[in-house]
C-alpha cells in the first residue's frame, strides 16, 4: 500500500480519474435513462458503446484517416471528431433502437417478468459482441493518432493536457445538453412522466412506446459520443471493449442513483476518481476491486445511491 504516492499525486490522479469518469458518465446515462423508464438493466448497452468505437474507426478510415495516417490540422481534427460523434452517435443510437425492437418490445407486449428481460438483454449483448468478434476476427483495431496531449496548465501540481480537458469538457457539454432536453423540453417532460408514473402519463396522452424509443436513441447516442472520446484517448478497440466499461458505467449509474441523470454524472466522475486513487494506493491491478467495494459501501449507507433514484426528480 502506497498512501504517500496518492497524497503526492492527488491532483494528477484526480485529473486522470475525471477523464476516465467522464466516459463512464456518458455511458451511464444510457443505463440510467432506460432503467428510469423501464426498470430494466439494459445489459446490451455495453455493446451499443462497442459499436460506436468501431463506427469511429470506420468513418475515419472512410475519410482517409486509417491507422497510422498523419494527423491533419487542428481544425481538421475537430472536424474528424465531430464527424465521428455524429456517425457513432447515429450508429449507437440505431443499435440501441434495434435492441429495443428485437429483444425488449416483444416481451413488453407480453408483459414478461423482469428476469426474462434480463435474459433477453444478455442474449442481445452476447449476440452483438460475438457478431462483432466474428466480423473483426477477434482482432483489435487501431486508429490514427489525432490528438497529441500537450500540457495546457498545471493545477495543484497536476499537468492538465488538452486531451483531458477536451474529454471532460465534451462530456459535460453532452450531459448538459441531455439534462436540458429532459428537464426543459416537452418530449423530455414526457420521458419524466413515464418514468414517474407510466399509467398517469398515458392518461396525459404520452405515447409510451415513443418515449421508450426516444430514450434508447438518446442513451445510445450518448454512448456513441462516449465511444469517440474513448477512441481518441485509447486509440484501440476490440469486440469485447464494451464489457468492462459497461459494467463500470452501470456501477457508476447505481452509485449516483440509477434513473437520475445528475446521479449518472456524479457517479461516473466519482467512480473514475476513486478507482484511480485506489489504484494508486493498492496498485493498478486492484482498480476494479476498489470500484466495486466503493459501490457496496455506498449502497449500504445509501440504498438508493448517492442522489437517489427516479428520473428528473431532484430530491435527496
Amino acid at each position: 500500500m502506497n498512501f504517500q504516492f496518492v497524497l503526492d499525486n492527488l491532483a494528477a490522479l484526480t485529473v486522470t480519474g475525471l477523464t476516465q469518469g467522464s466516459i463512464y458518465a456518458l455511458v451511464a446515462l444510457g443505463y440510467t435513462l432506460v432503467y428510469g423508464v423501464l426498470r430494466l438493466i439494459n445489459f446490451a448497452h455495453s455493446e451499443v458503446f462497442m459499436i460506436g468505437t468501431f463506427t469511429t474507426t470506420i468513418i475515419w478510415a472512410a475519410l482517409g484517416f486509417g491507422v497510422g495516417a498523419a494527423a491533419p490540422s487542428t481544425l481538421g481534427v475537430l472536424g474528424l471528431i465531430l464527424a465521428a460523434v455524429l456517425a457513432a452517435g447515429a450508429a449507437s443510437g440505431a443499435t440501441a433502437l434495434v435492441v429495443e425492437r428485437v429483444a425488449y418490445r416483444p416481451l413488453r407486449k407480453r408483459n414478461a417478468p423482469p428476469l426474462i428481460f434480463l435474459i433477453s438483454a444478455i442474449g442481445a449483448s452476447v449476440a452483438l459482441m460475438e457478431a462483432a468478434g466474428a466480423i473483426t476476427n477477434r482482432q483489435p483495431r487501431g486508429m490514427p493518432s489525432l490528438v497529441f496531449p500537450k500540457v495546457q496548465f498545471s493545477i495543484f501540481g497536476a499537468d492538465v493536457t488538452n486531451l483531458q480537458l477536451g474529454i471532460i469538457f465534451s462530456a459535460l457539454l453532452m450531459w448538459v445538453g441531455l439534462d436540458t432536453f429532459i428537464n426543459r423540453s416537452r418530449l423530455g417532460r414526457g420521458v419524466r412522466a413515464v418514468a414517474q408514473n407510466p399509467e398517469v402519463a398515458a392518461l396525459m396522452g404520452v405515447n409510451k412506446d415513443r418515449v421508450i424509443m426516444l430514450i434508447f436513441i438518446l442513451g445510445g447516442a450518448m454512448a456513441g459520443a462516449a465511444s469517440v472520446l474513448y477512441d481518441v484517448k485509447v486509440g484501440l478497440t476490440t469486440y469485447s471493449v464494451g464489457f468492462l466499461i459497461g459494467i463500470k458505467a452501470f456501477t457508476a449509474a447505481v452509485l449516483g442513483g440509477i434513473g437520475n441523470l445528475r446521479g449518472a454524472l456524479l457517479g461516473g466522475l466519482l467512480l473514475g476518481v476513486v478507482e484511480n486513487y485506489g489504484a494508486g494506493v493498492f496498485g493498478n491491478q486492484w482498480m476494479d476491486v476498489v470500484a466495486f467495494l466503493v459501490l457496496v459501501v455506498v449502497l449500504l449507507f445509501r440504498p438508493n445511491g448517492l442522489l437517489g433514484e427516479s428520473l428528473g426528480r431532484a430530491r435527496a
Partner: protein, 236 residues
C-alpha cells in the same frame, strides 16, 4: 351520445371485475357512478380511459369505437381522466404537472390561456406554481389533478373520487368547481364515494355492486331511494 359502454367485461388476472356493464353519458351531463369499495367504479373508469384492456363488449366515444384504442390516443380524442389517488408527478413542479396535462397540444397561446383558466379556478395552484407536486397537501394535489385533467381541453372529464381525503369545506368547493366546469361545457363522468354530494350534483347516476349496474336514475331519484340510503348510510 358522447360515451357509450356496451356490455363491458373486464378482468384482473383471473378475477372478473366487471360483468357486462352498459352505460351512456350524454354531452353536457354530469353522470355519477356510486357504489361500495370494490364494486367496480374505478375499474369502469380505467376501461373508459384505456388503462385496462376490456375482455368483452365495446366502448364508443363521440361516435367512434375506441374499445381497442391506446390510452394516449383517447386523450387526443378528448377523454381525460383525473385518476384515483390523484397521480401527481411528484418530481415535477405544479406548473410542469399542468403542462403535462396539455402534452398532446401544441398551440402555445391556447395552452397559456387554459393555464390562466385553471389558475382562475384554483388560485391556490397559482401560489404554488413552482413547488414540486410531491410536497403538496392532499387537497392541493386533488386540485392539481383536476386542473391537470382540464388542461387537455377534454370533451369528457373522468373524475375518480375527487373528494377523497378532503375536508368538508373543500369537498363543497371541489364539487362547486365541478359544476362550474360542467357549465363551461365539459361533460363529466364521476366516481364518488360521497354519495350524498355526488347524487345531489349529478344529472344522472348509476349504482354499481360487485361489477354490475344494479340501479340507474337521476341524481334526485337515487338520493331519495331507500335502498341506496340503506347501503350508504347504514340506516334503513
Amino acid at each position: 351520445m358522447l360515451l357509450e359502454l356496451k356490455d363491458v367485461s373486464l378482468a384482473y388476472g383471473r378475477i372478473v371485475a366487471l360483468h357486462g356493464i352498459s352505460l351512456t353519458v350524454d354531452e353536457g351531463e354530469i353522470v355519477a357512478l356510486i357504489g361500495a369499495n370494490g364494486a367496480g367504479k374505478s375499474t369502469t373508469m380505467r376501461a373508459v380511459s384505456g388503462l385496462r384492456p376490456v375482455l368483452k363488449g365495446s366502448i364508443s366515444f363521440d361516435g367512434q369505437d375506441i374499445t381497442k384504442m391506446r390510452a394516449d390516443l383517447r386523450v387526443i380524442r378528448g377523454v381525460s381522466q383525473s385518476p384515483e389517488g390523484r397521480g401527481i408527478f411528484p418530481g415535477m413542479s405544479v406548473r410542469e404537472n399542468l403542462e403535462m396535462g396539455a402534452y398532446t397540444r401544441r398551440n402555445r397561446p391556447e395552452i397559456d390561456k387554459d393555464l390562466e383558466r385553471v389558475f382562475g379556478l384554483f388560485p391556490r395552484l397559482k401560489e404554488r406554481e413552482k413547488q414540486s407536486g410531491g410536497t403538496m397537501s392532499g387537497g392541493e394535489q386533488q386540485m392539481l389533478a383536476v386542473g391537470r385533467a382540464l388542461m387537455s381541453r377534454p370533451k369528457l372529464l373522468l373524475l375518480d373520487e375527487p373528494s377523497m381525503g378532503l375536508a368538508p369545506m373543500l369537498i363543497q368547493q371541489i364539487f362547486d368547481i365541478i359544476v362550474e366546469i360542467n357549465q363551461q361545457g365539459t361533460t363529466v363522468l364521476l366516481v364518488e364515494q360521497n354519495a350524498q354530494q355526488a347524487l345531489s350534483r349529478a344529472h344522472r347516476a348509476y349504482v354499481l355492486e360487485t361489477g354490475r349496474i344494479v340501479k340507474e336514475g337521476t341524481g334526485a331519484e337515487l338520493l331519495h331511494d331507500p335502498a341506496v340510503k340503506d347501503a350508504y348510510l347504514g340506516v334503513a
